[in-house]
């Protein structure tokens, strides 16, 4: 028999030999050698192996981070975001603006980057560029503020109603919803409206915007009354007076039952709410009920 086609030893080991083939094989001279080898093999063992311990070890290895060098993938998406963020930050440095706000019932004194001084009245805010200040002295004002400008390049106060251009001076700008008023206490300022009307005012002069044009008036004070803790009104609609009261004292009027268009002449102090309410509301013949920060108004 040829061994390639009939691996009889394998069949013998597997008890697969036919009885005749087995008998023939057992008679052969090699049989004893093979038998001895196979019996001797029974005394061999693989090294001892503890399944439980090995499993525990494997599970422990699973807990640990892989020893192999971790593949750190390039993250193009994240890099793109980083690049975009960097550009935004740089853009932000150029166009970054600072806003200061004096809340209702407070006033705020600020020094601008060029050492110009701004006093903000209650309920007002200014905004200016954080960088490149010296070549671009533009301040956006919403509300009322007293400016003491250091001499230098053009200094511009921009408001909703118009712009004020100066060359070092002290002036007050009042830019409320329906009021635009500039008072000059020192130097010279040029006031321009959105309709391109311009007026230059000097120390002791003031302009106010009425019906779309500027009217010049004289002032005798050396600083605005709000700086002394007073508000003064001459033939002013009651609405504006109440707005100012709300700003100075951080209160809210319930105005449903009254006529806000009546004109008011007079003033109030900023340091005592009761007196302030009395000095405005009593002459106007109004009754009021104070409830916390809410004040309800009604005609007498």
């Amino acid at each position: 028999m040829t061994e390639d086609k009939d691996p009889y030893l394998a069949k013998w080991l597997n008890n697969d030999l036919t009885p005749q083939a087995l008998e023939q094989f057992e008679k052969s001279e090699e049989f004893d050698d093979y038998d001895k080898i196979v019996k001797g093999l029974e005394y061999f063992e693989a090294p001892s192996f503890n399944e439980e311990a090995s499993l525990m070890e494997t599970l422990q290895k699973l807990q640990q981070p892989q020893k192999k060098g971790k593949i750190i993938r390039l993250k193009p998406f994240i890099y793109a975001i980083s690049a975009a963020a960097s550009i935004l930050i740089i853009m932000g440095l150029f166009f970054n603006k600072v806003t200061h706000t004096a809340d209702q019932g407070t006033q705020l004194a600020l020094i601008l980057p060029d050492d110009s001084r701004v006093d903000l009245n209650a309920g007002s805010s200014i905004t200016y560029h954080r960088f490149f200040w010296s070549g671009n002295r533009v301040v956006t004002l919403d509300g009322e503020g007293l400016f003491s400008v250091k001499t230098g390049e053009n200094f511009i106060v921009a408001t909703d109603s118009g712009t004020i251009e100066v060359l070092g001076t002290v002036f007050n700008v009042k830019s409320r919803t329906s009021v635009f008023e500039v008072t000059c206490y020192e130097g010279k300022v040029r006031v321009g409206t959105n309709s391109d009307e311009q007026k230059i005012i000097q120390k002791g002069e003031a302009v106010s915007l009425k019906n779309g044009s500027l009217y010049k008036t004289q002032v005798s004070e050396s600083e605005p009354l709000w700086k002394k803790g007073e508000s003064l009104f001459i033939s002013t609609p009651l609405k504006e007076v109440l707005d100012e009261l709300e700003r100075q004292y951080n209160i809210t009027f319930n105005r449903i039952a009254i006529n806000e268009n009546k004109l008011f002449s007079g003033g109030f102090l900023h340091n005592n709410l009761d007196i302030a309410l009395e000095s405005v509301l009593v002459p106007m013949n109004l009754e009021y009920i104070v409830n916390g920060t809410n004040v309800k108004l009604s005609d007498k």
Binding site: G40, L41, E51
Partner: protein, 170 residues
């Protein structure tokens, strides 16, 4: 009523696989490299890879995956080293009744056998020992190694023949 197929990702299933196959795989690698520690490392690494790929390997394929991975790991590791095999010394179970002469003769024979096994080719040795020591059937071995049953039989036949030749010094 169909129960969802068991996933290798479930810890009890994984543990069961380990208990069923760990010893065979460890021994198989040991028959190739002769270093029990290295064999166990490779076997454990194969199971770790099975766990890390548990979502991709269905339970029915887990055994084949383990055999394949452990063999590949072995090939990667021992590319540069040849290991001289050393097998367990003769164990003396129920041998006490034999005469001292016989024991000496037996001992010599066992050493010869041990050396002969070491001289088998790797392909012969892994098949032969998986069958003789781990009692794996030819079918199981064929599946493990990815070869035909006929090839297994041929290796068995040639292995035994070679052992006799070496021992007899033919």
């Amino acid at each position: 009523m169909r129960t969802p197929p068991k996933s290798v990702c479930e810890q009890p299933v994984f543990n069961e696989l380990f208990k069923t196959h760990a010893r065979t795989i460890r021994n198989h690698i040991y028959y190739k490299c002769g270093d029990p520690d290295q064999a166990e490392d490779i076997m454990q690494e194969a199971f770790i890879r099975l766990w890390n790929n548990c979502k991709k390997v269905i339970l029915e394929k887990a055994r084949a995956f383990l055999y394949k991975v452990s063999t590949n790991l072995f090939l990667n590791q021992v590319e540069h080293q040849k290991v001289r095999l050393a097998y367990n010394k003769l164990s003396h179970r129920d041998r006490n009744h034999e005469s001292p002469d016989f024991i000496l003769e037996e001992k010599e024979f066992m050493i010869k056998l041990q050396n002969a096994i070491a001289d088998l080719t790797e392909a012969q040795r892994e098949v032969f020992l998986l069958n003789r020591i781990d009692k794996k059937t030819y079918n199981e071995i064929a599946e493990m190694l990815g070869i035909s049953v006929k090839a297994v039989e041929k290796r068995m036949h040639n292995a035994l023949k070679k052992l006799r030749k070496i021992i007899k010094n033919i």
